[in-house]
């Protein structure tokens, strides 16, 4: 039996046509069209949504990209923070995992 991939192993994507975003001082107000919900995101959360809307990325790839984009070290951006943020964004529907088995 194969264990399900972790959030960091999964590949993530989002559709930029499904949300509207307005930036205010490093924070973002995001309206998600499918749910009709409005979300208040910090720069890291929006960075994830924005990055995977351009290219599908695994959690590990996302971690590396965010460190580069925001000039952060591994201790400033621990894996646990990226994992929990991915989980929250997935729950809100702002990102979704790509099913690699298809």
């Amino acid at each position: 039996m194969v264990a399900a991939p972790s959030l960091m192993e999964k590949t993530w994507t989002s559709d930029s046509g499904q949300f509207l975003a307005v930036e205010y001082d490093d924070t973002y107000l995001v309206y998600f069209k499918p749910s009709g919900d409005t979300h208040f995101l910090n720069f890291l959360s929006f960075g994830i949504v924005d990055a995977v809307s351009k290219t599908a990325l695994s959690g590990t790839e996302l971690h590396e990209k965010l460190k580069t984009d925001f000039s952060l070290t591994s201790s400033e951006l621990p894996v646990a923070l990226v994992t929990s943020t991915i989980g929250e964004l997935d729950q809100a529907g702002l990102i979704s995992s790509v099913d690699n088995s298809k």
Partner: protein, 310 residues
């Protein structure tokens, strides 16, 4: 052809007849209201508090709000008489003793606008304006919104609304809807001292919301009820007995997140509502203000706007 005239220019028997027949049409701000109800308490309230509003004695070509004040059942039409607002759709309104008709009327109008009018995004807020723009005050009931609204009217502002910020969907402007200001409990005497007895309606006592009275809108407020304006400031007022006066500036995104649950139709309108709220907050600041007295609240507004009032 129907003609508009001040409600106070009609005789009591004309008003009674129009109310009974359901032909009294109130024009206010962007809405036309067709009102009916056979109650002396309602007639007294409208004759006094709505005396300067524009009405017609026949239905208008287009009506936005249809409000009927009626007995909840046949028995309560005659025995221990009660009244309930019927806006044409089912609402969770508790039948009230007939002398509380003013409250039933105001509640009925609020429910109609809040739940049925979708030409604007409706946010539960007080709004006043001067030549430089509007101040929007969003707060939970009891936080001091109505007192601050009444106080600002004494310092050069005109009344847009004590209940709803109506924000345009095509342009992020605020539209006036200057109904009387609803005053509860101890606020009644505070505002009466501020504006004078002649501006305050008779108090309706022991309602489910406590004692209620209404501060009548001025003719100058009503004269400009078709003139929208841009917002200049968003406030979240918080009255706390004995509190030290404080301001706390909010990130606009946080301010919008606070307005979303205060809106009755944001979720229904969706994307246009998002554009309207982000448009409204584009070039203005938002503050939470905490204070323990009306004088302090005015000082804080002075400090934020840079406009002398006291």
């Amino acid at each position: 052809m129907n003609t508009l005239a001040r409600l106070g220019s009609y005789s009591r028997s004309d008003l009674r007849s129009a109310l009974k027949q359901g032909t009294l049409t109130l024009h206010l701000g962007p809405f036309t209201h067709l009102v009916s109800g056979a109650s002396n308490a309602l007639l007294d309230f409208l004759s006094d508090t709505y005396r300067d509003y524009q009405v017609e004695m026949a239905p208008s070509d287009v009506t936005d709000v249809l409000l009927s004040l009626e007995a909840p059942n046949l028995l309560r039409r005659f025995v221990r008489r009660q009244i309930t607002p019927n806006p044409g759709f089912k609402v969770p309104a508790v039948p009230l003793p007939i002398h509380m008709a003013p409250l039933a009327y105001e509640m009925g109008l609020n429910l109609s606008v809040a739940l049925k009018c979708c030409r604007f995004i409706n946010v539960h807020a007080g709004v006043v304006a001067d030549d430089s723009g509007a101040i929007v005050m969003s707060a939970a009931s009891g936080a001091g919104k109505s007192t601050l609204t009444a106080a600002l009217l004494q310092h050069g502002y005109r009344l847009f609304s004590d209940e709803f910020a109506l924000i345009g969907l095509d342009k992020p402007l605020l539209y006036p809807y200057p109904r009387p200001i609803s005053l509860k409990q101890e606020t009644i005497s505070v505002v009466r001292d501020m504006v004078g007895d002649s501006w305050i309606s008779e108090t309706v006592t022991d309602t489910p919301k406590g004692d209620i009275a209404y501060y009548r809108a001025r003719e100058s407020d009503l004269a400009q009820d078709k003139t929208p304006t841009a917002a200049k400031l968003l406030l979240f007022p918080k009255f706390e007995k004995g509190a030290r006066a404080m301001t706390h500036q909010l990130n606009p995104a946080e301010a919008i997140m606070r307005l979303v649950p205060a809106s009755t139709n944001y979720s229904l309108l969706g994307e246009p509502a998002f554009h309207a709220l982000t448009g409204l907050l584009k070039n203005i600041r938002a503050y939470e203000i905490t204070y323990g007295s009306t004088t302090d609240s005015l000082r804080l507004v002075e400090q934020i706007t840079g406009q002398k009032m006291l």
